[in-house]
């Protein structure tokens, strides 16, 4: 049963990757005007952010509403390194991301000690405290006057500027997705998922849970900071109120959740939907706060009716259509089972026992016939 599904399980993602990559890369040439292109940049930025968030949220189940703060740190870090230290833009970006990742170690040390609701609160607190610091420490950060990030390509016209950053963001997204995919299929990833399910049990099975959480938090922080920093270079104006906003973090959660946190492309799908939805609500309810209402309703609908996200919901639907309901009950009685087993071991002679013993000893069983 496990084997039978595999080929399909491999082809579908491969095709999805190709289609997605083609769509992403051809978008700039299809975009009718620079505005649409800039909207594309925004959506890609969302996608990178929510994918980065999903390193922590998706694998470990720790819901951080504070990832906006990490993006903000990346943005301010990049900006300050450019303006104060005079580093070239992209060097500053890399250095800032590394610094934020380093900073994520102590932050993670404090925050990852607590679970569930307490962690959510800590993550909210992180944003709020950084907001206070960046607002108050005006001599460094410019405070509420904001900070202007010099353009990395000063000669570029605005449409060209968008196009360049579109590809930069696409590259970053590819990198983040690759990293997520690698972890997802790895043993490290399985350990993280075990933490999500039952942290104490995972620890009791020998997973160094704290180290695992910390590592993935740092990776997530690094990618988030990269996205934030790249955004700063693209956007140009930083204001603590917007950089350190709970809403940013919440949108990341919304997008990841909407797409499906257990899926590689979940956050990307979520970013697309949210990106479009925000744009649509803005156009539709332009000058009333009803766009907030619409966003809220969208989130509520997802939570209530698609708690696992759009992708699993679609998958579930397809499954239900294509396959009859399966049962977890063994379809044979105890007596039949005994007879079957007896027959099997008679047919295979002593091999059955040999198999089992080899398996126990950590050896390689010669046959996998049981799974036919």
């Amino acid at each position: 049963m496990t084997l039978a599904r595999r080929p399909v399980g491999r082809i579908v993602p491969a095709v999805a990757v190709l289609v997605l990559a083609a769509a992403v890369l051809s978008f700039p040439s299809l975009a009718p005007n620079p505005y649409i292109l800039s909207a594309g940049v925004v959506v890609l930025n969302y996608a990178v952010l929510s994918t980065s968030w999903n390193f922590v949220g998706g694998f470990t189940g720790y819901i951080s509403l504070g990832h906006g703060a990490l993006a903000g740190l990346g943005a301010y870090g990049t900006a300050l390194l450019v303006t104060r230290a005079g580093l070239p833009s992209f060097v500053a970006l890399a250095v800032a991301a590394l610094l934020v990742a380093a900073l994520a170690v102590p932050i993670g040390f404090a925050a990852l000690r607590v679970r569930g609701a307490s962690f959510v609160i800590v993550s909210i607190a992180l944003v709020l405290i950084l907001l206070l610091v960046f607002q108050s420490w005006a001599s460094l950060t410019g405070g509420s006057r904001g900070l202007v990030v010099p353009r990395p390509f000063p000669g570029l016209l605005r449409p060209e500027h968008h196009r360049v950053f579109y590809f930069l963001f696409a590259g970053l997204l590819g990198l983040a997705l690759l990293a997520w995919w690698l972890i997802d299929r790895s043993r490290f990833g399985l350990g993280l998922k075990a933490i999500r399910e039952d942290e104490d049990k995972a620890e009791a099975l020998g997973t160094p849970t704290f180290a695992y959480k910390l590592v993935v938090f740092v990776v997530s922080a690094g990618f988030t900071a990269l996205a934030g920093g790249l955004y700063a270079l693209w956007f140009g104006d930083l204001d603590p109120v917007f950089q350190f906003s709970i809403l940013t973090g919440s949108y990341m959660v919304l997008m990841a959740l909407l797409g499906g946190v257990r899926h590689l492309f979940g956050p990307v799908v979520g970013a697309l939907v949210v990106g479009f939805a925000l744009e649509y609500f803005k156009v539709e309810f332009g000058n009333t706060p009803l766009h907030l209402v619409a966003t809220g309703l969208l989130l509520a609908l997802v939570v209530l009716f698609m708690p696992d996200g759009v992708l699993p919901a679609i998958g579930g639907l397809l499954n239900r259509l294509s396959r009859p309901t399966q049962s977890s009950i063994r379809e044979v009685t105890a007596a039949q089972l005994r007879d079957e087993r007896a027959a099997a071991s008679a047919a295979e002679g002593t091999r059955d026992r040999g198999d089992a013993a080899a398996a126990t000893a950590g050896g390689r069983p010669q046959s996998t016939r049981e799974r036919a």
Binding site: A110, P289, T295, L299
Partner: protein
Amino acid sequence: MPSGALLFQSVILGLLLGGLYALLAAGLTLYFGIMRVVMIAHSAFLILAAYLAWWSHSRLGVDPLLSMVVTVPLFFGCGVLLQRLLLARLRPVTLTMMSVLLTFAIAVVIEGLLGYVFTGTQRRIQLGYGSASFGLFGARIAVVKLIAFGLAAVALAALYLLMKKTTFGWALRATIQHRDAARLVGIETDRVAGYGFGIGLATAAVGGTALALDTTIYPSLHWHWIGPLMAIIVVGGLGSVPGAAMAAMVLGLMQSLLQIPLGTTWAQTIFYLALFATLAFRPQGFFGGRLAQRF
């Protein structure tokens, strides 16, 4: 060096502020500690209640305190519905996580509707006694602040008694801890959980009215309250009403005193410092902490 008079005045202001914090945190404690629901929308409801108080005062000419006659039952009803229609649909395994998002959505919806109905303009109740005050050993106590404090004290005491001394309180806690077992001892779990939520929201109605007496309100104000309130309930020990009250008073006082040397912005960081200190040294909270498990 601040003068003695300024210190004394700040202590008084801090205590009055702490009282308000305590009431507002109490409702959160209820959902959070007892029902495992992270209620981000609590402060949005608070602002909603404040708006209703403001609206009934400025449009109908009713004293804001009287508006509670309507808002408290109304909010109770809302809470019951909210729990029964929305939160009850969440899967228990992911309740904590999903409740964050669902209540976040509710908060945003409320903010949007408030903005739509009342516009984003900042509002303030204009009471005849708004700037009235009386002296106490050289300090001044504003009448409105004292009323807010009184409201908070009464509501808190009532809440505490309800949770500790009545069968309802027991039934509520049992419902949250093991729903099936609670049903099997005959508790109407749906109704009880609904009422529990209703009571939480009713405290928001009282708190919102108290809040409206002496501050400006605007639709997005609730974001401003979430941080300090969340910090308070963690410091106080999740689920402990007296703990939250103590933490609120202490932090309110500290904020007020720290404002003298540090200014408004830095003084607010006390909440987060206290939060991190709590997590580092006593994750179960400094004042409550009867809970057996970490969340």
